[in-house]
């Protein structure tokens, strides 16, 4: 509609008629809608009037139906630093289950919505800490409606002041008796907290601190005490090691430090300096899956093999007999390589047994690894619990010597079930807990503990490293930091924040508080000194263990392990983690007894698939003494014949809606706090019942297809394209590459061309990226039943393939027919030969996308920047795109996952919804979704660059998975920028496209897996 006069909105417009048009690269299609000729006339025609009337009525009607409107209320007084729509980042510290990370917390409108490792911190210090999948998921635990909302006395609400008064009175009464006040805590790395504790012990004389980590590294601490005279844990440098020999140490999973995966990856660049990794283990671990050579071995034999290496390195004549000739050859080769790489090798053991750690120390000492690959000056403070201390404490409790117990951040009744009966021996029981778990529900007082994202704190995780933890949200509930409790009970009225600030100046000396708070960390100087390896240790080993441990075929071993997703189970009420598949078994929402194919056959136990593809398994009675658990069995290829595995972290009774009733509690069998239980347990099949598993992957081999391309280092050094032969199709033109036969016009990316490269040599399959993707993209949790039906919603999955002993050449050679060959190909290799590969698969953003062609409503289309885009609003849910996707990465909203009574957590309650990323649509029922390459981040970065009038810098745009992948396996960037990392990756001889014969022209490509192996004759 037009009036006669024309007003200018700004002086720019006058004389610059194109000004307005520059706003949009393309003209808005208004002209076709409004007849320009007529609008320029001084009146609105009747037709136009009717058009406007019709349009506005239709628009009003349409906008009023569909989605319900949720009102948002604007700030009355807007905080200065918060701009709605713009994220704020705060540096902080994560420390849980002995995993440390310096983190960046992303907040939107005052809500923390995701965490990631602080890359600045990582740049400044080599290889310490880092978030794992549990760390990435921890942001969801903040919004867990199962958290304690106020302090409790005898499970009833009490105010903080009353609680303080009552506890102070009780503690003072206890002072008069001889009984101890025990502070039972998991490892504390906060120097300020430790200072408060020592102050507390000054006030309450009979106070003692007992450290207890459910999964401790007591063995290493004690061994080091014996070897070096001091119980410490050194930091390891897997990046400096050229030969890595690991005995049961799952260092890429949960062994010691979350930085090991990152370090390990640094040594895995194919080339002359690529490390060589041997793994001896009983269960198939994440680390074993990545090894160049993996030998399944039971724990007793592992010790023998260690001794063999030790003896051989010392050139001892009295060597242990290795009966398996093949293994002997491997060991001899290892010894030779170790000697060749003196000072650049690393032997580690995951055993909780001190004697194993002693031998490992002795070998490392012999190889001069201390001060090169093992740094005993920069110590790790992440583990301080020593088993004997805890055992003494238990004895004290039994003898009625403990009057009060204050439990900090520990679910002791769950982690040490027999403690439940001993609680009656203690008069005053206090717990600092985030939820009313198995322990807290038995306490006299429960001090509701704040989540770490609501708390102040500091940390000294390693020698010379100081980091700060800051709250990124006001406490959601009436909760306090643990430290505040102790301060109050000492009648110190100073708030913990002020206390921390004053303590900071003592800790960090000359550093500025503001800068440290901003950066999240600062470094301190520390003294370096040489430790002397006690010579008696080697002698002791020779004297005590010169004869091998006899193990017969009848011996069985129950090995208690922890999954990367669940750890010791502190976050078991986190649905993201429950739904994260175990990297090896791909089972979600469960723990189970892993059993070797050999033993399964022996006991007549089975796993089988039912009509809908779901996996079922037999259930056994696992008996150890008077403890009996009903556990489903999972037959695990690659596992040593006589070993059984059971994961910690499950079987909660009071874990919350998510955790309760999932799996069984492996801590019931944690006798003597040893991970390995030899003999003494029995397994008996229960007839007539079966267990339903929820697996995300039900076929386990590549069926002879070229999916993960693989080569050996030797071949690679000869020819970098080995294992990655260009695919050629026979055609009338002769042999051509598939894209020469394409009927399609190619998309020409205009400004950017977003590509991703995934290095299969660096990806270790840990799954942190899957959780980071969950958090970034509001991926819903669907629950066990749905996962079982193969309806998981993960935008990014990690495929795990086992090798098979059958291949096409072998079949030809032996005259095996195709039907029989494919049957055999489905079977994983025997345990000795099993190799495992991992492949993260997300939407490949094909440039000839099969999904785009088939959508009848054009809901999935190609962007000018090479992305395959999904328009949720336009999708009508025919699922044709899903069917036609060769990679099967599309995910359909089978139900309304955001408001579903079946899953009243995460997205389905008001608190859980606070974790949602406001930049990403929550998808409705009936639409298809998939990886978008974090388009919201791309857009934001582009806008930032535009505002600043510059080009987008390489590495500036990050996908959530790339950020989460600390091994650097994922590289994302603009392939049109010839200097970018991705352009270089694209030209790399190892680079290939998945299923390139289909000529889908993916924007995601993979780099061949190179194993550092050669045939051992």
């Amino acid at each position: 509609m037009k009036t006669g006069k024309k007003y200018f909105k700004s002086p720019y417009i006058k004389g610059n008629e194109n000004y307005l048009h520059n706003e949009f690269s393309e003209k808005l299609p208004l002209d076709s809608f409004i007849d320009e000729q007529k609008t320029n006339d001084n009146n609105t025609s009747r037709r136009d009037f009717l058009k406007f009337l019709g349009f506005s009525t239709a628009a009003a009607v349409l906008s009023s139906c569909e989605a319900p409107v949720r009102k948002s209320i604007p700030y009355l007084n807007k905080p200065e630093e918060i701009i709605p729509g713009v994220a704020n980042y705060y540096a902080s510290t994560y420390f849980q289950e002995n995993v440390f990370a310096n983190i960046l917390v992303k907040t939107r409108e005052g809500r923390p919505i995701s965490v990631s490792t602080n890359k600045e911190f990582e740049k400044n210090i080599n290889c310490v800490g880092g978030l794992n999948s549990r760390g990435y998921a921890s942001v969801l635990s903040l919004y867990d409606s199962n958290r304690l909302k106020f302090p409790l006395k005898n499970n009833k609400e009490i105010s903080w002041s009353n609680l303080d008064n009552e506890i102070i009175t009780s503690l003072n009464q206890l002072l008069k008796t001889n009984k101890k006040i025990t502070f039972l805590t998991s490892t504390i790395i906060s120097p300020t907290f430790q200072e408060i504790i020592s102050k507390f012990s000054e006030k309450y004389k009979n106070f003692e601190v007992v450290y207890f980590d459910p999964i401790s590294k007591s063995g290493i601490l004690e061994a080091n005490k014996e070897c070096f005279g001091e119980a410490f844990i050194p930091t390891y440098r897997f990046d400096k090691a050229k030969v890595i020999v690991s005995f049961e140490a799952d260092f890429l999973g949960n062994w010691l430090d979350s930085s090991h995966g990152k370090q390990y990856a640094k040594g895995r660049n194919p080339g002359k300096n690529m490390s060589k990794h041997y793994q001896f283990e009983s269960l198939l671990s994440l680390t074993g899956s990545n090894a160049d050579k993996r030998v399944p071995l039971n724990p007793d034999q592992q010790f023998n093999y260690m001794l063999y290496i030790f003896g051989k390195l010392q050139a001892s004549k009295n060597l242990i007999q290795i009966s398996n000739q093949n293994h002997k050859l491997i060991l001899d080769q290892i010894c030779q390589e170790l000697v060749e790489n003196k000072g650049a090798s690393l032997i580690v053991s995951g055993s909780s047994d001190v004697k194993n750690q002693l031998v490992v120390n002795a070998i490392n000492y012999l190889l001069d690894n201390y001060s090169t690959t093992i740094d005993y000056n920069r110590k790790s403070n992440l583990y301080s619990s020593i088993n004997s201390d805890f055992e003494n404490f238990i004895e004290d409790v039994t003898n009625n010597k403990v009057g009060a117990i204050i439990i900090n951040d520990l679910n002791i009744v769950y982690n040490y079930p027999s403690f439940k009966d001993q609680l009656k021996n203690i008069d005053l029981k206090i717990s600092f807990s985030e939820s009313l778990d198995e322990t807290a529900s038995l306490m006299d007082f429960v001090c509701a503990k704040s989540h770490y994202l609501e708390s102040w704190g500091d940390a000294n995780p390693y020698t010379g490293v100081y980091t700060l933890q800051q709250p990124t949200i006001n406490p959601i509930f009436n909760t306090r930091e643990s430290e505040t409790n102790l301060l109050r009970w000492m009648n110190i009225s100073q708030g913990f924040f002020n206390y921390l600030k004053s303590s900071f100046s003592k800790q960090a000396l000359d550093k500025s508080w503001n800068k440290t708070l901003h950066d999240g960390y600062c470094f301190q100087n520390f003294e370096e000194k040489d430790y002397i390896f006690s010579s008696s240790v080697a002698k002791e080993i020779i004297n005590n263990y010169s004869s091998e441990l006899k193990s017969s075929i009848e011996d069985t071993f129950l090995i208690l392990y922890s999954k990367t997703s669940m750890g010791e189970g502190k976050q078991s009420n986190n649905p993201w983690l429950q739904e994260l598949p175990d990297p090896i078994s791909k089972v979600t929402w469960d723990n189970y007894l892993t059993i070797s194919p050999f033993y399964a056959k022996k006991l007549g136990l089975k796993n089988w698939h039912v009509a809908n593809g779901g996996l079922n398994g037999d259930i056994v009675n696992l008996t150890n003494g008077n403890k009996v658990l009903q556990v489903p069995i999972y037959i695990q290829p690659g596992q040593h014949d006589n070993t059984f595995g059971l994961a910690f972290g499950y079987g909660k009774e009071k874990g919350g809606k998510v955790a309760n009733g999932v799996g069984v509690n492996a801590f019931e069998f944690f006798k003597d706090l040893q991970f390995v239980q030899k003999n003494g347990f029995s397994i008996e099949k229960i007839k007539g019942i079966e267990h339903e598993f929820a697996c995300t992957q039900n076929s386990h081999t590549m069926m002879g297809r070229s999916i993960v391309k693989e080569t050996t280092l030797k071949e690679y050094l000869k020819n970098p394209k080995s294992g990655n032969k260009d695919f050629k199709l026979e055609s009338y033109k002769g042999k051509v590459s598939p894209n020469e036969l394409s009927l399609y016009e190619e998309h020409e990316p205009a400004v950017h061309f977003w590509n991703m490269s995934i290095d299969l040599n660096k990806c270790n399959g840990c799954g942190a990226c899957v959780i980071a993707c969950h958090a970034e993209n509001n991926v819903p949790v669907v629950g066990k039943e749905e996962v079982r039906k193969n309806r998981d919603m993960h935008w990014l999955r990690i495929d795990r393939y086992y090798s098979s002993d059958m291949n096409k050449d072998l079949a030809n050679e032996q005259g095996i027919g195709a039907i029989e060959m494919y049957k055999l190909m489905e079977e994983p290799s025997s345990s000795e030969n099993l190799e495992v590969v991992f492949q993260p698969v997300m939407c490949q953003h094909c440039n000839n996308a099969p999904c785009e062609n088939v959508c009848p409503v054009a809901a999935t289309t190609h962007s000018k920047e090479g992305l395959n885009q999904m328009t949720y609003n336009r999708c009508i849910g025919t699922r044709y795109c899903l069917n036609n996707c060769p990679y099967k990465v599309r995910r359909f909203n089978w139900f309304n996952y955001k408001d579903n009574d079946n899953f009243d957590y995460n997205m389905n309650d008001d608190l859980g919804k606070m974790v949602l990323n406001p930049d990403v649509t929550v998808r409705a029922r009936g639409v298809m979704e998939k990886c978008s390459m974090c388009i919201q981040n791309i857009q934001k970065t582009k806008l930032d660059a535009k505002k600043e009038g510059r080009k987008v810098r390489d590495g500036e745009v990050n996908c959530a998975c790339e950020t989460a992948c600390d091994t650097g396996a994922i590289v994302f960037g603009d392939a049109l920028d010839t200097n970018s990392r991705i352009s270089k990756e694209k030209k790399h001889p190892r680079t290939y496209a998945l299923l390139e014969e289909l000529n889908t022209q993916p924007s995601v490509f993979y780099k061949t897996k190179v194993r550092n192996k050669q045939k051992i004759s």
Partner: protein, 457 residues
């Protein structure tokens, strides 16, 4: 009755024109018997159950079906293709046989066209309800809209389906109705009850039986027959392109269009056979649907069944000959994988069972014919199931291989459409002239039949 010296008569029972009128009008003018009622009630219950399942699906989500991330279509599209296939024989009988001047079609064309329309109604349900957001379903039509520059995707075979099915449905409906007009007029003229009279008056569009009306009627029939003939080929060709244009091994096959058309005729004739065998018994039309008709249809079933069998074997051959490992595995997996039973059910029912029709004795045996027709229904349903589910469940990456098993809703909806189909058909049988009597009368040679009658007396 005129008797050809070499051909069997197409109408038996010494009918004259009035006899035909009486026979055709009888079901409409008399009350239904017990058989009709019991079958009707049974079908209505099945239909209501099916509609309940559809409502549950729409209200809760597609998740109530047995589908998953790997198998995105299963019973829904299987049923869709099955019903579309059944809806194929009608046009073939009425249009193609009309152009070829096959008079034997006259007794069966009305019912087969009705079957076509009712089957296409069932078929059309599935593409609608399989959508995740059926309430946005109108977006598949190229409607001018206010959503910005949004338009349908003409590359998508699903869109071609929309056009193909809707064209086929509308042309078939018009063609069918054209033929019905003179017959409705006949019933109108005989009607005594006022409401019936009124209704049939409206339905017969003022037909007066004038020569001009007849002339236009015949021209129109020919024109529509000409229009329908390409549709016989196009509909199922296009349906087959849903699969043929994709990349999935087992779907990506150029043989699909002819193979699907042959399969559709095969399945359609079997359904026609089933319905007619029941109808001729229940409504006493033995004189009009004679053994000769049944035999002709059996021959068509035999021929198209053999074409389908050849197609199956060609597919296997090409999979082997192509040298593509995915293709080879897909076909081996069909025959020997977890769904081997579906493949062999298809093979037995579609390839082996019709071959028995080579024996004249068997193809003229009503019970045997009926059983074989049922076998063909089962076989053709499994053919679509095999193509859809066994191709999808194990495609390129073994990591996403999966299985499918139907939920009670999947089964309920299928049973419901069978019920719905029968309800429509049973209502049709009692309210519509089930044989195109006006046309049929053209092959009754009254004078000679009188002559014969006299001679015999």
């Amino acid at each position: 009755m005129y008797r050809s010296p070499v051909r069997e008569p197409l109408i038996t029972g010494k009918k004259d024109l009035h006899d035909i009128t009486e026979d055709i009008a009888r079901p409409i003018e008399t009350k239904a018997n017990k058989w009709w009622w019991s079958l009707f009630i049974f079908s209505v219950i099945a239909m209501i159950w099916g509609f309940g399942c559809i409502a549950y699906t729409i209200g809760t989500g597609i998740g109530v079906w047995g589908l998953n991330n790997t198998v995105g279509w299963a019973w829904d599209i299987t049923n869709f293709v099955w019903w579309v296939g059944i809806g194929h024989a009608g046009t073939l009988i009425s249009a193609v046989l009309l152009l070829f001047r096959q008079k034997w079609r006259l007794s069966i064309n009305r019912t087969s066209e009705a079957m076509t329309i009712f089957a296409v109604v069932q078929a059309g349900l599935f593409p609608l309800i399989h959508m995740g957001r059926i309430w946005m379903g109108y977006w598949i039509f190229p409607l001018p809209n206010q959503f910005g520059p949004l338009w349908v995707n003409f590359n998508s075979p699903l869109l071609w389906d929309v056009f193909a099915i809707s064209t086929y449905f509308s042309v078939s409906l018009v063609f069918w109705y054209m033929g019905l007009i003179p017959d409705f007029a006949m019933i109108r003229d005989r009607a005594v009850k006022p409401i019936a009279k009124k209704v049939y008056t409206i339905l017969s569009f003022g037909w007066s039986g004038r020569a001009k009306h007849w002339q236009r009627h015949e021209v129109m029939s020919l024109v529509l027959a000409g229009l329908c003939t390409p549709l016989v080929l196009s509909v199922h060709s296009i349906v087959s392109m849903d699969f043929a244009t994709s990349v999935i091994p087992g779907w990506h096959t150029t043989i699909f269009p002819p193979y699907f058309v042959a399969g559709a005729i095969f399945g359609g004739f079997a359904m026609c056979q089933t319905l007619l065998l029941v109808a001729r018994k229940v409504v006493s039309l033995e004189d009009y649907i004679t053994m000769k008709h049944i035999e002709y249809m059996n021959i068509i079933i035999l021929v198209t069944g053999s074409i389908v069998g050849c197609a199956y074997i060609t597919e296997l051959f090409i999979a082997w000959y192509s040298g593509v490992e995915f293709e080879q595995y897909a076909f081996l997996n069909r025959a020997t994988g977890p769904y081997w039973w579906a493949y062999w059910a298809m093979m037995t029912c579609n390839v082996i069972s019709p071959q028995l029709m080579w024996f004249k004795k068997l193809r003229r045996n009503i019970l045997f014919t009926f059983i074989i027709a049922l076998f063909v229904h089962i076989g053709m349903w499994f053919e679509r199931f095999v193509i859809i589910v066994t191709s999808l469940h194990r495609d390129f990456l073994p990591s996403s291989w999966s299985m499918f098993s139907p939920s009670f809703v999947d089964i309920g909806i299928f049973v419901g459409t069978c019920g719905f189909f029968l309800v429509l058909f049973l209502l049709y049988a009692r309210t519509f002239p089930v044989i195109a009597q006006a046309e049929l009368k053209t092959i009754v040679k009254t004078s000679s039949s009188k002559y014969n009658k006299n001679k015999n007396e």
